[in-house]
């Protein structure tokens, strides 16, 4: 659909409405930040204007109301034009027809704020409506500037990439909207009021999530619309504005309303980006660089090599136990921001320790089929660079955990790095067949990190989570070692199957499994879990014991692989059962 015949007046109305809406938002932010909302005791008129001399709060409030009135007039005028143009592009018409209802509601809410003196509580909803009104101006403006591209034939890959990009762009816009509201809610005088605003997230968490979504959108544009400089520029602008908005976190909470200037611009830019993503023409197919060589001929990129140093598959299970532990404390459901930063800190810590392990274990990894293709033994990344990378991630993890969680969580996280990267990798692994048993302590720490990130203290149920994973580790890793024992023998690692033989290892797997299953049931007697968990843990444990029995008595490869795979599932399901029990029984 093309829009060549729209008058200059209509375009000017839209531009004027957008600017007036933005100015109303910024002035509203100033009113909030300075606490001027109560300066005018009536609505819509302000009787204090007649009293001389006029104070600054009265001026601010009156100016805000005048800007809202100007925006209302311009929005109504544009809506009338849109109503008359029944053949117009729906991207122009629908938002403009919705806008008057929103701005009326917005004005009425402003009146309620003044009459009932609910300045703070209604503030976030007042702002949310303002942002929607702004979006109703920005969407048609962007649609006017970017006529809808005619639908052409594109390949399946391009269509799929386009769908992903569209979804991501709208999620990013939504994330930005919530972030602007959350940044504004910082101005509220108490946590109770912030909670009453109904936002599911606080400012720093919302900032992080919207940065992640917008960064993902930029990355996806770079990947699938490489030649589209307008899209790239718009996405880069959104990311830059998020950084600028983030800087306003440094302002005192009472001045959070000042960030609304940047926030309004950011919201508008995010909406424009989403509209452009919907309407820009698609490439005839993915760029050449994206489909250059078949996977078998293409080596991993440097980025994927560095990511693989962090052992993401291993970390995913660690983070599951961390996350579950955060949900089962008596402190209740943690905030999204705390979850986010604990996950980020946990990934950095485990990833840093994994990279240091890769640097130290070059001589072992090169002799094992399973690990010989890792970046360090294959020479794609030097051991020195892997070490620097690991140390950097570890340092970042300490900073993130200290800044956003609790000192005890930061302590356990750091202990996990030292335990795994130094104590296990440099000493235990090479010196004793007890390496897996004692080394299991490193992998058992993540639940303590999650627990203490929420509570700030340690308790017996948290220690039990540690103990469960500690006893889970030998059956899990010895099953792998039984399958890969020749690799371990060639690499000189004294794993139990290598030094004591298969029968002894299979028997010890059964013994450790029995103790682990028994210990996993103790969360109920401790009062940390209820009947749902007890039943699920008993069921999962019974299946585990049947697998361990098969390993002990039969000892064939199928039984061993079966136990290895089930042990991964078991741990994830056991912790999921804890969360289910907590959410169901409270």
């Amino acid at each position: 659909m093309t829009t060549p015949s729209y008058s200059v007046t209509f375009r000017r109305l839209l531009i004027g409405g957008t600017l007036a809406s933005l100015a109303a938002i910024i002035s509203g932010g100033l009113v909030s930040a300075t606490g001027s909302g109560a300066a005018c005791t009536a609505w819509p008129l302000c009787p204090e204007v007649l009293s001389a001399p006029l104070s600054a709060p009265v001026w601010l409030t009156v100016a805000h109301r005048a800007l809202v009135l100007l925006a209302l007039v311009l929005v109504l005028a544009a809506s009338v034009v849109a109503w008359q143009r029944r053949d117009a592009d729906p991207w122009l018409r629908i938002p403009l027809l919705v806008a008057p209802a929103l701005i009326m509601l917005l004005s009425a809410l402003g009146g309620v704020m003044v009459w009932l003196k609910l300045y703070h509580l209604a503030d976030v909803w007042h702002l949310a409506l303002s942002l929607l009104v702004l979006a109703c101006q920005v969407v048609p403006l962007a649609a006017l500037a970017q006529p809808d591209a005619p639908a052409g034939h594109v390949g399946a890959r391009t269509a799929r990439a386009s769908r992903q990009l569209r979804g991501m762009a709208w999620w990013a816009a939504g994330g930005v909207g919530v972030m602007v509201l959350a940044m504004s809610a910082r101005a509220m005088p108490s946590l109770q009021l912030q909670a009453a605003a109904g936002l599911p997230i606080d400012a720093s968490g919302a900032l992080a999530i919207s940065a992640m979504l917008s960064g993902g959108t930029l990355w996806q544009i770079r990947r699938s619309r490489r030649g589209d400089m307008l899209l790239l520029g718009a996405a880069a602008l959104v990311c830059a504005l998020i950084v600028a908005e983030g800087m306003t976190l440094l302002l005192p909470a009472a001045q959070a309303g000042l960030s609304l200037g940047v926030g309004g611009l950011l919201w508008g830019a995010a909406i424009v980006l989403a509209v452009l993503v919907m309407r820009r023409p698609l490439p005839t197919d993915l760029p050449v660089v994206a489909r250059s060589l078949p996977a078998v001929e293409r080596g991993p990129s440097l980025l994927s090599d560095y990511i693989s140093l962090t052992k993401p598959k291993v970390i995913s299970l660690l983070l599951v136990t961390t996350l579950a532990a955060m949900f089962i404390t008596k402190a209740g459901t943690p905030s999204l921001a705390l979850i986010f930063w604990t996950m980020v800190g946990g990934y950095l810590a485990a990833g840093g320790a994994g990279a240091i392990n890769c640097a130290f274990d070059e001589d072992i990894d090169i002799n094992m089929g399973r690990t010989s293709r890792r970046p360090v033994p294959s020479g794609r990344i030097s051991a020195r660079n892997a070490m620097i990378f690991g140390l950097t991630l570890s340092a970042l993890s300490v900073a993130v955990m200290l800044a956003f969680t609790t000192p005890l969580a930061a302590l356990f996280s750091t202990l996990g790095i030292v335990y795994y990267a130094l104590f296990y990798t440099r000493w235990l692994k090479r010196s004793t067949w007890q390496n897996i048993v004692i080394g299991g302590g490193a992998g058992s720490l993540p639940p303590l990190v999650g627990w203490t990130a929420v509570t700030g203290s340690l308790s017996l149920p948290a220690v039990l989570l540690f103990v469960i994973i500690f006893y889970w580790t030998p059956p899990h890793f010895w099953a792998l070692a039984l399958v890969k024992q020749k690799d371990y023998a060639r690499a000189g690692v004294p794993m139990l199957p290598v030094v004591a033989g298969e029968p002894e290892t299979r028997w010890q797997i059964f013994v450790y499994s029995a103790m682990m299953v028994g210990l996993s049931l103790l969360l109920t007697p401790l009062g940390a879990m209820g009947a749902i968990y007890l039943a699920l843990a008993a069921l999962l444990g019974a299946i585990f014991m049947r697998s361990a029995w098969g390993v002990w008595r039969r000892g064939d490869q199928a039984a061993i692989w079966g136990l290895y795979k089930y042990s991964l599932l078991y741990l994830a399901l056991l912790f999921a059962a804890m969360v289910v029990d907590r959410l169901a029984l409270g």
Binding site: R430, Q434, I438, G492, L522, P525
Partner: protein, 70 residues
């Protein structure tokens, strides 16, 4: 009552399991003498010590669990 029953059963399972593991570690002081080439011999007393540390730690934990139920 159910809580105590569970704790007692688990304590028995752990006690038997740890006793078997300590017995194995004790036996390994001699039988691990012949190792594959390239595998260095670990200190048998150290291996036994690690086994004992695990057992003592677990018993201490169970004692805390029992104490919390009193």
């Amino acid at each position: 009552m159910l809580s105590w029953a569970l704790v007692v059963i688990v304590a028995i399972v752990v006690a038997v399991g740890q006793a078997l593991l300590i017995r194995s570690a004790w036996r390994f002081r001699k039988t691990l003498a012949i190792l594959p080439p390239g595998i260095s011999r670990s200190d048998p007393r150290g291996d036994l010590a690690w086994t004992l540390v695990t057992a003592i730690g677990t018993v201490a934990f169970l004692a805390f669990v029992a104490q919390s139920l009193l």
